[in-house]
């Protein structure tokens, strides 16, 4: 019986030119998005590889230089672009992909590709994830908005009922048929995955297969939710045109407007400092209180001096067996690190509060929940960026300490006159980054998973009860 319903629905879809047109356009957009995503990721990965090599070569061959000067000459940490960014680039391009690792200062990430993009590209980026998040629900609505309402309008629902078809069978048959059509968008996703596998992801996301499986399941829940909801609405309203208006209104609200609105509300309620202000704060709060001429700064430096003289049991700096300038530099680093931790925690806190506010809106927009899940699993969300930035910062601290130690231990009384050479630079480690495990990622998005699951279950119940309701209504007619 369900097989017959699926067969009939698919036959009707095949003969509906509008459905075929929408399907073809969405599929074409999907392929274009997959290629576009691959092109972007491939380009970023190649640029990163070239930049990593160039950075290393430059560092290794900087010649004789004071280690602290080298720390200012510095190195870069380049964020690897995950291969799954082909499918969902998330915040890639928005948060910056390179961090300058210099002494005294924790630089924010730079190289934001969206800064070079026009405004519309910021709003709607052509990615496979975006196509599925926006167009797949619309396709689901177009497929099933008339599912029950039109059956009632033309009188076939009564004929179907008289054949002994239970409401659940009609619902399941129609849902499966619609999902089969939507599944025809899968080749564009497969193309994205195939292209992703063909990128030069040196770092590699852990558990890519499992991430991909979770992504597919999440999108199935999302598309299922819209399909079920559309069937439910179609079953509840008197006319198919009403169902279309209601559903397209719901689509526009939950897919287009609410995500934008939620982001604006998040930014308004939890504003992050402007980049220039933040950088000014970093500089002012980490440097001046230690190196400035204020009494407080002078006292801090005096404390360092007293502490090191006591530690080495000498009375004068000139008697120290170490390079005091290097020691003082390292002390300033440790002071500044506390400031960086505080300011960056405030900054990340503001971003995370924004995310939490946006997440609240996922109750009315499953697109928000799916967007979080999708970009998190693709390794392109805020958490992935923070994970990278924090790892880069840990490396910066160790690296600067290494350079300061070189000056402290080997600089003697040469002060800033101490020089290291290429032999030393070539022994210095590279920044090595391991993206977070899937367990860590899932623990960040469990609320989104629950919300999406809730949407799918609720929509299923709405559809299931709606079809039963329509059978009762028709029986009473």
């Amino acid at each position: 019986m369900i097989k017959a319903i699926i067969w009939k629905e698919l036959l009707q879809y095949r003969r509906d030119g509008r459905i075929l047109a929408v399907l073809f356009i969405t599929l074409a957009l999907g392929f274009a998005a997959a290629f576009n995503g691959w092109s972007m990721v491939e380009s970023q990965q190649r640029e990163r590889q070239a930049a990593v090599v160039s950075d290393r070569t430059t560092w290794d061959n900087q010649g004789k230089k004071n280690p602290h000067s080298a720390a200012h000459f510095s190195r870069y940490a380049f964020q690897p672009t995950s291969s799954l960014s082909v499918f969902d680039p998330g915040l890639t391009g928005f948060m910056g992909s390179a961090i300058w690792l210099e002494a005294h200062y924790r630089d924010p990430a730079t190289l934001r590709s969206v800064e070079d993009a026009v405004e519309i590209q910021r709003f709607a980026r052509l990615t496979p994830a975006w196509i599925l998040q926006v167009f797949a629900p619309l396709l689901a609505i177009l497929l099933v908005f008339a599912g029950i309402a039109a059956e009632r309008e033309r009188g076939t629902l009564r004929q179907v009922m008289s054949s002994g078809v239970p409401p659940q069978h009609l619902f399941v048959g129609k849902a499966i048929a619609a999902l089969c059509i939507i599944a025809l968008l899968a080749p564009s996703v497969v193309a994205a995955v195939a292209l992703a596998a063909n990128t030069h992801d040196e770092v590699g996301l852990p558990s890519v297969g499992l991430r991909l499986t979770c992504i597919v399941l999440a999108y199935m829940l999302y598309i299922g939710a819209f399909t079920f909801a559309a069937i439910g609405i179609s079953a509840r309203v008197a006319k198919s045109k009403t169902a279309l208006v209601v559903l397209v209104g719901f689509w526009a609200t939950s897919v287009i407007f609410v995500p934008r609105f939620a982001t604006d509300v998040g930014s308004a309620l939890s504003p992050a400092p402007a980049a220039a202000d933040f950088e000014a704060s970093l500089s002012a709060e980490s440097s001046t209180p230690f190196w400035g001429g204020s009494e407080e700064a002078q006292q801090r430096r005096a404390n360092v001096e007293a502490e090191v003289l006591e530690r080495y049991g000498v009375d004068k700096i000139e008697d120290l067996p170490i390079n005091y300038d290097g020691y003082l530099l390292q002390a300033s680093e440790e002071f500044a690190n506390g400031v960086f931790d505080r300011l960056y925690n405030e900054l990340w806190g503001a971003y995370e509060t924004q995310s939490d506010i946006v997440r609240l809106f996922s109750v009315v927009s499953p697109t928000l929940a799916l967007g979080n899940i999708s970009s998190a699993l693709a390794g392109s969300d805020l958490y992935a960026h923070r994970h990278f930035a924090d790892s880069a910062e840990l490396f910066r601290r160790d690296f600067v300490k290494l350079l300061n130690e070189e000056m402290i231990q080997n600089g003697g009384q040469d002060g800033y006159g101490y020089m290291s050479d290429n032999d030393f630079w070539q022994q210095n480690p590279d920044f090595s980054y391991t993206p977070p495990s899937i367990g860590a990622v899932l623990s960040n998005i469990w609320v989104d998973i629950l919300v999406l699951l809730g949407w799918a279950i609720t929509a299923f119940l709405i559809a299931s009860r709606g079809v039963r309701f329509s059978f009762k209504q028709e029986a009473m007619a």
């Binding site: 017959a4 067969w7 009707q12 003969r15 033309r154 008289s162």
Partner: protein, 258 residues
């Protein structure tokens, strides 16, 4: 003795109601209805709009639940076995609703499959269509261009494919041109003669006297008269019917019914 006569004699009723009552709020749609239709019988229910004819059919289809009493199909209570009883029933409404983007044959195939007959070959389906009076070419055309009569024939072909034992015909002749109505009447008679039990709700007293084994006159949810067209002259049936309808119009206390 015809097959129908053999079936009728001594056989249990295929369609039966026992003290069937149905109310919608304060409105009584059916009151203590007792009818039975045996295999090879056609019972035509005559009555004005709201007399309870369609409500009776809806109760046999399980679309409505009786307030009290029972509607039985092949001895089974419809309220207790909705799916099973529908397998024995074919329903042909006044307007046979079909899917306009499908051909007649595809509609037939679909409705037959819904009724559990999903193994028919195209040849089998064309045979049903042919028996219902449609050509192969007509069956292959989209039903969007079908006349009402052609739709009725797909309805009959579906009933045949379903191998139903009982037919519920709700105003099947309404709106048909005389030629199409005649074709449908012949089909109905053929079905009866092959052993089907037919319950037909109609306003058409002429077709009722022509097709019916028995005629039931309904008024305000009650069966007020049951007549044998073989025993009573058609003129007399008409007079009795019109007399009941006149009473109905002058009865200030008449109930509204579905």
């Amino acid at each position: 003795m015809s097959l129908a006569d053999e079936n009728t004699n001594g056989r249990m009723a295929m369609l039966q109601t026992i003290n069937l009552r149905k109310t919608f709020g304060d409105v009584v749609a059916l009151e203590g209805l007792n009818i039975s239709v045996k295999p090879g019988e056609t019972l035509c229910l005559l009555g004005a709009n709201g007399a309870g004819k369609t409500t009776t059919i809806n109760l046999f289809l399980g679309f409505l639940e009786p307030t009290s009493g029972e509607a039985l199909v092949n001895g089974r209570n419809v309220a207790m076995a909705q799916i099973e009883t529908k397998r024995d029933i074919a329903y042909i409404p006044e307007q046979v609703a079909l899917y306009p983007s499908l051909s007649g044959l595809e509609n037939l195939k679909y409705f037959a499959a819904l009724a559990g007959h999903d193994t028919y070959s195209d040849a089998d389906l064309y045979a049903f269509v042919d028996r219902a009076g449609l050509t192969k070419d007509q069956a292959d055309r989209s039903v969007a261009g079908y006349s009402k009569g052609m739709r009725q024939k797909i309805g009959v072909a579906t009933a045949l494919a379903k191998q139903a034992k009982a037919f519920l015909l709700d105003e099947p002749l309404s709106g048909l041109d005389p030629c199409a109505a005649n074709e449908f009447a012949l089909l109905a008679e053929e079905l009866r003669a092959s052993g089907a039990a037919i319950l037909m709700a109609t306003h058409d007293i002429f077709r009722a006297t022509e097709l019916a084994s028995r005629i039931g006159i309904m008024k305000a949810g009650k069966l007020v008269e049951e007549l044998d067209p073989k025993a009573v002259h058609s003129k007399e049936i008409e007079a009795i019917y019109l007399n009941h309808m006149r009473d109905d119009q002058t009865d200030p206390a008449k109930g509204e019914a579905a």
